[in-house]
């Protein structure tokens, strides 16, 4: 089945709004490029040859479809709902991020833009972007906070081997938000030649829509697979939420299935203490940041607050606007996992299933660990195993074993 063909077109509306969220809150210099991207995307979506090329590469280069794996030992360990894991960790480059990076690289080709920029937090989006740029012969520059470069050094090295230039961003707290600011500044300056491959369901319209659509395949596959295996729909979907791309990718194809509950898991950091977490739906308020209107962490004066998470990919002050919409609608529930809970889930999944998850992903697994035991053994959970944890072993060794690994 073609990847994009059945994406429902009702949201966002023609202004890029999801209800009161989303929109195009950008400097005027970018408006023309965003509108061009929107119309080129609409054309691509309707173009069978674009679909065919995307589907072929997703299959042969990226490794789709990914398995829906029944985590039998985790299920019996938890003693409740049956737990299935959607194995995005098996994709080329090790996380879901490449679904979007590949789709947008194909869009850049259509737009005739040969220079690509991206931001990255955990480095997975940066690696995915560097990978597709190598594959298509595009020039690639990735902005990354200096703090994140240190805690995700493995991915920095990967990007460099893939031919990308990695630029350290030192402003502010030197993490994902600052990397986005710097990428936006580059884009404002080089917009005629450059496409910005944004890495999550974030930012100005049309990015939240495009990123969602390229990840929607996750849920489309999972829905078909669970019907094949269990002959029924799941009761609960669980995914971690940074900007929200892996979560909306899993959830979207199930939104019309009223019996399927969904839970997004944000980064609780050291607990919900100002400046020590990144759970926008806990301590956040409505505002506008980096192109979109959504929930974000800001002080009483609208200045963006510091965030903290052990996982670089969730350590960000704003949440994707579509999540804000479904949260207000009551369709999706949002909770959080603390650093300690995520680290403990990282261990549990590694030891019981032989799957080392990314620290981002471990936040979702932490919620599975809390929730499955409270559910009936006939119930089914699908959790998104959004990425594998190779990139995080140094971090985990420091936090869990108290050891500094040297490579």
């Amino acid at each position: 089945m073609s990847t994009l063909a059945h994406a429902p077109a009702s949201l966002p509306d023609s202004h890029g709004h999801f209800g009161q969220f989303g929109g195009m809150f950008v400097p005027e210099t970018l408006m023309a490029a965003l509108k061009e991207l929107e119309s080129e995307y609409a054309a691509a979506r309707a173009d069978a040859s674009f679909q065919a090329e995307l589907d072929d590469l997703l299959h042969n280069y990226v490794g789709r479809p990914t398995p829906l794996y029944f985590a039998e030992r985790l299920t019996s360990h938890l003693g409740g709902a049956k737990v299935y894991l959607k194995r995005e960790d098996l994709l080329h480059t090790g996380a879901h991020k490449i679904n979007n990076a590949l789709g947008q690289a194909l869009l850049a080709k259509r737009l005739g833009k040969k220079r690509i920029i991206a931001e990255t937090g955990a480095g997975q989006h940066g690696v995915a972007t560097a990978t597709v740029c190598a594959r298509f012969g595009l020039q690639c520059r990735v902005y990354m906070g200096k703090v994140d470069m240190e805690r995700q050094a493995l991915n920095v090295a990967r990007m460099r081997f893939l031919g990308a230039e990695v630029v350290a961003v030192t402003a502010g707290q030197a993490t994902l938000k600052e990397a986005v600011n710097e990428a936006m500044r580059d884009w404002v300056t080089n917009v005629r030649t450059t496409h910005y491959i944004l890495g999550s369901a974030l930012g100005s319209h049309p990015f939240p829509m495009i990123v969602r659509d390229f990840h929607r395949v996750i849920g489309v596959e999972a829905r078909r697979q669970i019907l094949e295996k269990e002959n029924r729909l799941p009761d609960m979907l669980i995914a971690c939420v940074g900007g929200g791309s892996n979560a909306i990718g899993l959830f979207h194809a199930f939104l019309d299935d009223a019996s399927v509950k969904m839970c997004g898991v944000e980064a609780g950091g050291d607990g919900i203490i100002q400046g020590r977490h990144a759970a926008r739906f806990q301590g956040g308020k409505l505002g506008v940041l980096q192109g979109t209107k959504t929930y974000l962490l800001a002080n009483h004066d609208g200045q963006i607050e510091l965030t903290h998470s052990v996982s670089a990919g969730l350590d960000y002050a704003a949440v994707g606007p579509e999540h804000a919409y479904y949260r207000d609608q009551g369709r999706i529930e949002y909770t959080y996992a603390t650093d300690d809970e995520a680290l403990s889930a990282f261990r549990t999944l590694s030891e019981i299933e032989g799957l080392i998850p990314a620290l981002e992903t471990a936040h979702g697994i932490a919620e599975v660990i809390k929730r499955a035991p409270t559910m009936d053994p006939s119930a089914i959970i699908i959790a998104n195993l959004s990425g594998r944890g190779d990139k995080d072993v140094a971090q985990a060794a420091r936090h869990i074993l108290g050891e500094e690994l040297k490579f």
């Binding site: 950008v26 408006m31 936006m184 500044r185 963006i304």
Partner: protein
């Protein structure tokens, strides 16, 4: 009788056949007290309009000079209420037109309408929100209630001609034409197509067009003044403020830097 100081100033300059000189500075850099002195000193050397930056933590349309200024301003304790209070203090001494220049989030958080009401009551004349394009302003009912403050819109070189005319025709106060693609900051060379694009904007609009982004020398100011209704200088002034931030003569040193820029603007 024109009520708004911006409108009055541009009407007078039109009669005098002179371009406006618009100076940008970050409120609270290095302190709000210093900003008061700076604004009055700039008014004293013939600056026509002041753009007062309300600092934001994530100024993604700004280059490094203005980013650092916003950071210093926030570190010195500058708040939205503090900047509005500064306007009130400026008004005790000067009637120079004042435009608040910032990003949407601080304004949205304060309350869009309340911000405009309080700023208007304090004596502001216009508001420029870098990340609020007219499309969003029109599409969001909660972004209304401007209390007579002129909503200054941006036009960029990437703006298609039809959209240039469209934004121009709905313009208030003045149109800010961003002379080149990029963030705020000095440039050694001016963009080449300024006159052409100013002419396109003006073909659909009676509102004055001021040009900024990258202007830092008297020669550049004079060149822009030939084709536009106003010249905006920002980063070059902010950089001068940064260089003399702790000097007791800050205001007069900055005024000395700005005087030749004003003179060049008025020379054509």
């Amino acid at each position: 009788m024109l009520e708004n100081r911006l409108d009055q100033t541009f009407a007078r300059l039109r009669e005098e056949k002179k371009a406006a000189f618009v100076a940008y500075l970050a409120a609270g850099d290095p302190t709000l007290d210093a900003t008061l002195g700076l604004v009055l000193a700039l008014a004293g050397v013939g600056v026509d309009v002041i753009e007062l930056g309300l600092p934001f933590s994530d100024p993604l349309a700004d280059g490094i000079v203005n980013q650092l200024a916003a950071q210093r301003a926030l570190e010195s304790g500058t708040t939205t209420a503090g900047v509005i209070e500064l306007i009130r203090r400026i008004r005790e001494h000067s009637s120079i037109p004042l435009v608040l220049f910032t990003y949407l989030n601080p304004v949205y958080t304060y309350g869009f309408e309340k911000f405009h009401a309080d700023a208007a009551a304090a004596g502001a004349d216009g508001v420029l929100l870098l990340d609020l394009p007219p499309d969003e302003a029109a599409a969001n009912s909660e972004l209304t209630g401007t209390h007579g403050l002129r909503q200054i819109r941006l036009i960029a070189p990437t703006t298609p001609p039809a959209r240039m005319r469209d934004i121009g025709s709905q313009g208030e106060g003045f149109i800010y034409y961003v002379s080149r693609e990029g963030v705020t900051g000095e440039q050694s060379e001016l963009a080449t197509n300024i006159a052409e694009n100013v002419a396109i904007i003006k073909s659909g609009s009676g509102v004055p067009v001021c040009v900024g982004f990258g202007i830092s020398t008297p020669d550049q100011a004079a060149a822009v003044a030939r084709s536009a209704d106003g010249v905006v200088v920002g980063s070059a002034i902010v950089k001068t403020i940064a260089a003399h931030g702790s000097s007791p003569d800050l205001a007069s040193l900055v005024a000395d830097f700005v005087r030749p820029l004003v003179e060049a603007t008025k020379s054509v």
